[in-house]
Point group: C2
Chain length 162, copies 2
DNA sequence: TATTGTTATACTCTATAACTATA
DNA sequence: TATAGTTATAGAGTATAACAATA
């Protein structure tokens, strides 16, 4: 009664090939969708920022230091979610490029405080302009209201989800 | 007229330490917020799925194969954004665990088609239940309407942003 | 003793090049 | 000649352990 197995498989394979892919379960998960959106935006980011030789995490560091001069590495480490050992290396490179200055904290000589150099400030300002343009481009399919709503909902997750 | 530099620095450092951290620029960027939300959800995911010995990408593969039996590795590779070499290794492991079956495609013997074994199906069903619970927990701060809106906006980005 | 930051190192993830088998 | 999949390997990113200096 049963047809040969290969014939059965061939039929099933043909049927599968003819179907559009069903990803409905994954598409119902916020985490999955966050990742997909992130992975869509990042190549645009990387392409534009490569001209300034900045990765996303480098930009985060510069931007936070611009808005918060003289914070400690400890605090920066927490803000950008980079472990202390990895941040040390990252800061070595920014310091070698003359963008950041590490200073021993006079109030607690265990820690170091961070400021942008004037060159770091200039590069950060340029990067922030680039990022603002990129943001418009990457979210061009959203109205400004939708973009604000999206930011608000995402922030609910990581502010209240901790 | 100028005070000693260390005193100036001490004052600035103290002021910085007293301020709440200003992250306003980063918080205005969709990509950054996607990443933060993703990084908030993932530890919950990993903790619960570790009991089933599944990483996020393993779950994605099982879930897609459950909904799309007999698709080729090529198609799966594209769906989960894992390169062919890395997918081969990933599938080796799932096959060794008896969760997935690779079959030479009778319609084109270059390719292989994939199905879950009965054990793979069982584990995937269990994982999908776990994930559904996790989703409720991870997004408990959102109303169901907000959660749906969030999914819709994120999907706009990666559907229309390509 | 505890904390900040550093060094060294290991582990995971992702990317690339070269190969086999099939079309 | 092109494609599907594999193997081997390299690189980036992240995590951990041990240490020095300071509190």
């Amino acid at each position: 009664m049963a047809r040969p197995k290969t014939a059965t498989l061939a039929t099933a394979v043909q049927a599968a090939a003819d179907q559009p892919l069903d990803q409905s379960l994954l598409l119902s998960l916020v985490g999955y969708n966050c990742r997909r959106a992130y992975l869509t935006i990042m190549p645009h980011f990387e392409e534009r920022m490569s001209k300034l030789a900045l990765r996303a995490v480098d930009f985060s560091v510069l931007s936070i230091l611009k808005a918060n001069p003289n914070i400690t590495q400890k605090r920066l480490s927490h803000a950008v979610s980079v472990s202390a050992p990895n941040l040390a290396i990252l800061l070595d490179k920014l310091e070698q490029r003359g963008l950041v200055l590490r200073q021993r904290n006079p109030l607690d000589k265990r820690s170091q405080t961070l400021v942008l150099t004037s060159e770091g400030l200039k590069l950060c300002a340029k990067a922030e302009t680039t990022v603002a343009n990129l943001e418009q481009h990457a979210t061009a399919m959203l109205t400004e209201n939708e973009r604000q709503k999206l930011l608000q909902l995402l922030q609910k997750i990581f502010v209240e989800g901790n």
